[in-house]
Symmetry: C2
Subunit: 418 residues, 2 copies
């Protein structure tokens, strides 16, 4: 017997027919002898509808009242799933954020989970009752409803799994797992049986939008084993114990299970970055701070930063990337700071893509970067910038060459399936 | 300065444009120097949508989970009204049923309000904040969401007004007050400035569907002064202090204000009753109990009961009315009891109407019934049954003569306007 948290997203909860399908998946888990808690999102489209109501009511809306309105979407689906499970003959009840409670910070519309009281929940589950919990919502210390920000239901599920010391947190989505790369780009992409939290973070943050980054960070911090799998599996499929999806686990667990680690786990591509270069920046202390200080203050997320060694006359070029959606604000801020920074020209380009090779295996292997550069050079793909982390090498290239680069690297690292 | 509770129904809350209209009405009350709490219904149609979801999920739904789902409608409108008031520059916040809390019984889907903690509410209102409270919902002693049954928001408003010791509870509806009779039947019907709780109960229960009967009973018990008025008044109208609607007050207050009371306050018609006659029932102890016992056990609400004195051979005819919707069940129950009761024949007729003249004035006046019988006889309207209470005389007539009877009586009691 295991204790399992199952999470279903908005597409899976869109309407009573789909909720019935979800209920049957949940019922099968319980029938297999497990203690089950379920975390649900609002019906697809419902949160958007409620957010629009708030915007119409008040363009500068009070996030505390916004939370009262938007949290209702998950309240509805949690009640409906409990009713549907009861119709199948299961014992089930809903536990709203304020009922458990799920204690959060006071930061309405972007609250952080602080603690979950799980005693009543565990008692109910041990009595054979399925606990249904609305995702995305919690309770502030001022006894008001909070929400965790869009996509927060994944985080709710992981937090509930941590509080329940669950054996596994199964996240049901509209994909059936994490792949070596986007299967729409590379037909030979393979589903990964396991990835580490760190790899998942790198893959998620560079474009494989399977899980909210925040939920993966929390899972890593709390040591929650997360499985990504599809809610659109065959109704007669065996229960998820056969682990048909991708398990996200710690590095230690992975090393214990796989003798020979792949060097590289996956390839990710991200077309949503823009490149900015400031030329002839004075090579002196404080110049770089004058560039990035204002961007940080404006909450613009700077990713890659490349500074070459000083050329003659004590000047250097500084290149960095920002999200494309922040490019206009970035340009305006740096234009305003031109005299303070003392650069000569600003050149920007949103027609770039970041290609990353990710793998915990590279920690103990040299040559990963060299393989990458050679493979790209062989196809005459020009590298505009490079950045590395312990488990990732990223390069910036022309956006038009994205798919070619991903395919070339997928083959170069031996990731192609049969 | 007064303390006022305002209540707006689903039609008034249907969409952000209408909510803005409501917010302006509320703002004017506060600008007039009053402390204001607002009780709101869900958007028109929303509760039906949520109830349908529950039925689709589980035909025999668990009322505790049903309450979780349907209470969300009022949660949404309370948050939206708070946001809209803030957009107008008012201080406002929502107080959900579980936050105050509004303590209710455990009878999910038909809970009764037990007590409302009003300390935090009063403190907020004294600080100039408008309190927005979702109607229809409360909290059980087991910390679960309850609802009061359909139309419960009127009851919520009166209960909040009682807890706040409010000077007045203004119920905004799609009519502008209580009339001497249905203006669609009698063009000369007049709006009443004041009626007593007892009169309102009789008028409501016999067809003038302005307020939920339950909310009037509660107002009477708690001594809450209720005003019925329209939410579709001119935006530039003076604040409701000029009392444009109908005030529902105690008999004592009414007597203090009106030297000459009208004999009759209003005429009500109800076409939703059916008449049942059992012929040749044995005139002996226990026979009547054998008829009405099973009906009471089946929760069928018997209204008028007429039993003539025994004819020869120790037998009598018994006539009574039940709601038309319960006629089939009534027939089946009595058919099954035929031998026990010992009646000869059952005759039923759903093509009847109950016409009632209502007025606290009739307590001290004779002749009300005689005027009624003469006015109807003059137009050859046949009276099939009669019942009376302290403040009401009701007759049962052919349904086809409903409008004629109402007009004749409205004139006979001198209720016609100019």
């Amino acid at each position: 017997m295991a204790r399992i948290v199952m999470k279903f997203g908005g597409t899976s909860m869109a309407g009573t027919e789909r909720i019935r399908r979800v209920a049957r998946i949940v019922q099968r888990q319980q029938a297999a002898g497990h203690e089950v808690a379920v975390v649900v999102s609002a019906m697809a489209g419902e949160t958007d509808r409620l957010v629009n109501f708030c915007r119409e009511a008040n363009t500068l809306y009070d996030p505390a009242e916004y939370d009262v309105v938007v949290a209702s979407g998950e309240q509805v689906t949690s009640g409906l799933l409990a009713l549907t499970l009861q119709a199948l003959g299961c014992k089930a009840r809903s536990w709203l954020g304020w009922q458990l409670p799920i204690h959060t910070s006071d930061a309405h519309a972007k609250a952080r989970i602080l603690e979950i009281d799980s005693a009543a929940l565990i008692a109910a589950m041990q009595g054979g009752e399925i606990a249904v919990i609305p995702g995305f919502q919690g309770l502030s210390e001022h006894n008001r409803i909070t929400t965790l920000g869009r996509g927060g239901s994944d985080t709710s599920a992981v937090a509930v799994a941590a509080a329940l010391k669950a054996d596994r947190c199964d996240i049901y989505t509209d994909v059936d797992g994490v792949y070596t790369t986007d299967p729409r780009i590379v037909a030979k992409a393979r589903k990964l049986a396991r990835v580490t939290y760190e790899e998942m973070l790198e893959l998620a943050s560079v474009g494989s939008k399977v899980l909210q980054t925040r939920s993966v960070s929390l899972a890593m911090k709390e040591g929650v084993r997360v499985q990504v799998l599809s809610s659109f599996i065959d109704d007669d499929a065996p229960p998820a114990d056969s682990l048909p999806g991708t398990m996200i686990v710690s590095d230690a667990e992975l090393e214990g299970q796989e003798m020979e680690r792949q060097l590289i786990t996956g390839i990710a591509a991200d077309k949503n970055e823009a490149k900015v270069t400031l030329t002839r920046v004075p090579d002196q202390p404080g110049a770089v701070a004058a560039i990035f200080g204002p961007l940080a203050a404006a909450q613009i997320n700077v990713d890659m930063i490349i500074q070459n060694i000083a050329k003659d006359k004590g000047e250097t070029d500084v290149t960095f990337t920002v999200p494309s959606s922040d490019l206009a604000r970035t340009q305006a801020l740096l234009e305003a700071q031109k005299d303070t920074i003392g650069y000569f020209r600003m050149i920007s380009d949103s027609h770039v893509a970041k290609i990353s090779v990710v793998g915990v295996g590279m920690r103990s292997h040299a040559g990963v970067a060299a393989t990458m550069f050679k493979a790209l050079a062989d196809r005459r793909i020009n590298i505009q910038a490079i950045s590395t982390s312990e488990i990732k090498v990223s390069v910036l290239i022309d956006e038009d060459e994205t798919e070619l680069a991903v395919r070339v690297l997928h083959t170069a690292y031996g990731l192609d399936g049969e």
